[in-house]
């Protein structure tokens, strides 16, 4: 028997490596792709060499994924409690996605600034898009904890950081800055549905059909009737049944095939047989909807958005080039939808005035301005006022006393859309930032910075740039900030204001 034990032990020692050779290799474990595994011989000469080698090998072995599945199965089914890097169990079977808490910022002032940048950047994107007749709407799908806090236990609160304190700040700061903002959690009031119904699955980070339908009804209302006060949505769940659904969250993060009962709407509000007037959402022209996994919940998007809308999942990296292509086609409506936990980052970067998509919008604006803006030929160049003694403007020459000097200029009181023409001669390719009046009314340097600026590329040599300014800037002050060093000058620098006919 001792020999048998030894054989078993030796087979056991070799089992993970053997599994690698016998079975298919893991390309990912749930959502986590296995790490690249290269330069092994170099790594082996370092102290982490063996760990690197073993991680690379064992991540790919079916023995590891099986072990993770077994461990999570024991924790989930036997102890009803999991606590992994991504998931944490709450009360009453609720499973929460940890990043929704751990991304929250407990430095209130820092968090507010992040919100300001995000809100300002998104608002500027929408305003510039408006100058080329593209309506932009931002919508936010809520974190599950926002809609269903009843499952939040003390264990969950340990990871909560300041998410509860941050929720009202999130709403207030973004609403104050983005007029075209839809916060879907506002449509998901707990009291509107029976206590044994939920808007989210317990074991999934996403909403169920109830949550999705509420969100779509709300979006429909906002798009069709404008951003007025929301009316109560049409939703009958009094006779709701339940259907079993495989949960992607547990499958991908715990490697467990967990079936959960979720509500079925009675009647199915997305079925055209029920109410052919209800769907699809009506809007003028065509639309581009850039979304993440939340809007991707319901597969039959044609029913909801119709055939004039193109839906593209921003989470799929290969799709992002498509988004740029669709923006270039100049849709009438663009909807950006993000889950709450990633909204700030997305609004501040890729979906705001600092992102790749904005470059197309800006180009459309510059092209339209070049074609259509008219200027008074007798107009003198607008005077640039050096800001905080950072530069000198004299005889149509801009030079900096510091790198990237800033200048202020006053926008005239004349009504209607204002155009701005900027001519200059640059010794090298560079950019000019235009910083717009802070939405909050503050005039300190930092407030101008917080997301409300755009960058215009400047070529080497002579440049003539036309820009249609966002509406509502009359009598305000904007800043110009050329990206130059203190030794550089920009010559023949003139600014004129004009208008669209």
């Amino acid at each position: 028997m001792n020999k048998f034990i030894i054989i078993i032990f030796l087979v056991w020692l070799a089992s993970p490596i053997s599994a690698l050779l016998i079975f298919d290799r893991n390309k990912s474990i749930g959502f986590n792709r296995v790490k690249d595994f290269d330069k092994v011989s170099e790594k082996l000469l370092t102290t982490n060499g063996v760990k690197y080698l073993s991680d690379g090998l064992f991540e790919r072995s079916k023995a590891t994924s099986l072990s993770i599945k077994l461990k999570n199965g024991v924790l989930f089914y036997l102890f009803s409690h999991v606590d992994t890097d991504k998931l944490i169990s709450g009360d009453d079977g609720w499973l929460y996605y940890k990043p929704q808490f751990m991304l929250s910022d407990c430095d209130a002032e820092h968090y507010k600034r992040q919100l300001q940048v995000a809100g300002n950047s998104a608002a500027l994107f929408a305003q510039i898009a408006d100058t080329v007749d593209i309506k932009v709407v931002y919508s936010v799908s809520p974190n599950k904890a926002r809609v269903h806090p009843e499952g939040i236990s003390k264990s969950v609160l340990a990871y909560a950081n300041c998410h509860t304190e941050n929720e009202p700040l999130f709403d207030t700061y973004l609403k104050n800055r983005i007029p075209s903002l839809v916060l879907h959690h506002e449509a998901m009031q707990r009291d509107d549905i029976p206590s044994d119904n939920y808007y989210f699955f317990k074991n999934n980070t996403h909403w169920n059909i109830l949550g999705y339908s509420k969100a779509m009804l709300q979006l429909k209302e906002k798009l069709e009737t404008g951003f007025l006060e929301q009316n109560n949505s049409i939703l009958d769940i009094s006779d709701s049944l339940y259907e079993l659904r495989n949960q992607a969250t547990t499958k991908n993060m715990l490697l467990l095939e967990v079936l959960e009962k979720g509500p079925v709407l009675k009647p199915d509000i997305f079925s055209p047989e029920v109410d052919s007037n209800l769907w699809p959402i009506e809007f003028e022209g065509n639309a581009l909807v850039v979304h993440d996994s939340f809007y991707a919940f319901y597969k039959n998007t044609d029913l909801v958005f119709g055939d004039k809308a193109k839906l593209i999942n921003n989470n799929i990296k290969s799709q992002r080039a498509l988004i740029i292509g669709e923006i270039e086609k100049k849709p009438n409506l663009v909807v950006f939808n993000s889950v709450e936990r990633f909204a700030i980052n997305r609004f501040a970067t890729e979906w705001g005035a600092r992102g790749a998509y904005f470059k197309n919008i800006l180009k459309m604006n510059l092209d339209k301005a070049k074609k259509e803006c008219v200027y008074d030929e007798n107009q003198a160049s607008v005077n640039l006022i050096p800001f905080n003694k950072q530069g000198i403007y004299n005889n149509e020459t801009v030079s900096g006393l510091k790198d990237n000097p800033r200048f202020a200029l006053n926008i005239p009181k004349t009504m209607n859309t204002t155009c701005l023409n900027l001519t200059l001669h640059s010794p090298r390719p560079t950019t000019i930032d235009i910083l717009f009046t802070p939405l909050s009314g503050q005039v300190d340097v930092v407030s101008y910075e917080l997301g409300r600026f755009l960058s215009i590329p400047v070529q080497r040599g002579s440049n003539s740039i036309d820009l249609i300014l966002p509406k509502g800037l009359e009598s305000n002050q904007i800043h110009i900030r050329p990206t130059i060093q203190t030794t550089e000058t920009l010559k023949e620098f003139k600014i004129l204001f004009g208008r669209l006919p």
């Binding site: 001792n2 070799a14 993970p16 102290t47 063996v50 999570n72 606590d83 944490i88 264990s155």
Partner: protein, 471 residues
């Protein structure tokens, strides 16, 4: 590299076993042990491997010289030489900070270096070798490769047991491998892994959550939970490692001494130190206490000798005032038991009194040991004496988060060690079962279940170092 990590269990160990078994000739066996151990240490400590090399060479040469010349000066010089790296890497920064040297000064930065893994262990092993040769208890080993293989042998290199050369020399000289010994080794190894992965790591999460709180968040309930969790963690972690080391040693045909003997079954602190980290206690007894005079001195000298030994024991564990305090704390109880309480101490040795004497004393000692500062010791102590104070039973959410149902079950299993009564520790008992026709099946089933559990836990877990690595 730690034994419970999958990189060791499923990558390094199979290669090591294959290498040792292919190298049946003695010389090749030394070479393979040495090569594997050097690799193991390199992947644990990196370029600090030179410290191990220095220790090996110096102690090897010192052994030959003290045997030849029997000169106390050579002995003293070699011991000082062996201790210099230990003092520099482990204690210089502590002393410097204690006398006010700024840490961002040139001197401060010079002394602020990483600690070579296991330096306390292999240094003590080397010193024991030199002293045993000097005392004539063993002959100096002229075979550098064999001696190097002994001192650097990876199962006990990083965290003990502190193995004396005379205890294993025969096993190194001859290949004492057998099927029974190998099976016994598997059993101890798996048992150690279970203790570490299932009990120690779970209890450790709770303990860490308690001890990572700010001093103002420590309540009576947190003290109780944290101290019990750490009491379980440190025992299962360290004894688990020793089990693994002993098991690995057996797999390679080397029999190590036992290092733990159910210390929480002790009835007095005196007995506790005969059951806890036995090889360290024996080392201090043989190489510090006895040279200081042992029991053959007057009372005042005896008291001070005991305190010196326990002060050294505390300091050996780490360069911080908390370790000093912990060592002195235990030393005082030793004195109390031996010389102040006299016959009364025998009453405390009644089994039931261990719950009101031994365990509380030891558990409070672990609070001192685990605390990161004297302020924390004070905070825990004040909370401990305030069970009726405001918020005495408040528990921070991070502690609650760490106290998952599975962690609490593991902690409860660990707490059974407080109540257990047996002639042998469980690991030893399971080994002895292998010799019994009926009981061996229990051990076999234990191994098979253990292999499954360990595989799942090891392959699915992140890196979790052993506590005693820091020493």
């Amino acid at each position: 590299m730690v034994f419970s990590d999958r990189s060791f269990v499923f990558l390094f160990l199979p290669i090591a076993l294959a290498a040792i078994f292919l190298c049946t000739k003695v010389r090749l066996r030394y070479l393979s042990i040495l090569t594997l151990s050097v690799l193991f240490y390199f992947y644990s400590a990196g370029e600090l491997i030179w410290v191990l090399g220095f220790c090996v060479i110096l102690s090897y040469i010192a052994g030959i010289l003290v045997e030849r010349f029997k000169a106390p000066l050579i002995l003293g010089g070699s011991i000082i030489g062996l201790m210099v790296p230990l003092f520099f890497y482990k204690y210089s920064l502590f002393f410097a900070a204690s006398v006010g040297v700024p840490l961002d000064s040139t001197a401060g930065k010079f002394m602020n270096v990483a600690l070579p893994a296991g330096i306390s262990f292999f240094t003590f092993q080397a010193v024991s070798y030199v002293m045993d040769v000097y005392r004539g208890e063993l002959k100096a080993d002229r075979n550098l490769m064999r001696y190097s293989a002994y001192l650097s042998f990876f199962p006990q290199l990083i965290a003990g047991p502190i193995v004396r050369y005379k205890e294993v020399s025969e096993d190194f000289e001859k290949n004492n491998q057998s099927i029974d010994r190998f099976t016994s080794g598997i059993l101890r190894f798996v048992h150690g892994l279970l203790k570490k992965l299932i009990v120690a790591d779970s209890a450790g999460r709770i303990a860490d959550a308690c001890f990572n709180l700010g001093n103002d968040e420590i309540s009576f309930a947190v003290v109780i939970l944290g101290s019990i969790a750490y009491t379980v963690q440190i025992y299962f972690d360290f004894s688990g490692y020793s089990d693994m080391a002993i098991g690995l040693g057996k797999m390679f045909g080397i029999k190590f001494p036992e290092n733990f003997n159910s210390p929480y079954e002790s009835r007095s602190i005196t007995e506790f130190w005969r059951r806890w980290h036995i090889t360290l206690s024996n080392w201090f007894r043989d190489y510090l206490y006895i040279p200081l005079g042992g029991n053959r001195v007057d009372k005042a000298r005896l008291y001070s000798n005991l305190l010196i030994v326990f002060l050294a024991t505390g300091v050996w564990h780490g360069a911080a005032w908390t370790f000093v305090l912990w060592g002195v704390y235990h030393g005082l109880f030793i004195l109390l038991e031996r010389y102040i309480w006299g016959g009364q101490a025998r009453r405390l040795e009644l089994a039931r009194y261990r719950y009101i004497y031994l365990l509380p004393v030891v558990i409070f000692g672990w609070i001192i040991f685990r605390s990161t500062s004297m302020d924390q010791v004070l905070a825990f102590s004040l909370a401990l004496i305030s069970p009726l104070g405001d918020g005495a039973f408040n528990i921070n959410n991070t502690v609650i988060a760490a106290s998952t149902p599975s962690a609490c079950l593991a902690l409860a299993i660990g707490c059974l060690s407080f109540f257990k009564k047996s002639a042998y520790p469980i690991g030893v008992m399971l080994e002895k079962n292998l010799e019994s026709k009926r009981l061996k099946w229990f051990s076999y089933i234990y191994i098979l279940i253990g292999l499954i559990v360990v595989a799942v836990a090891s392959l699915s877990s992140n890196f979790s170092p052993f506590l005693y690595f820091q020493f």
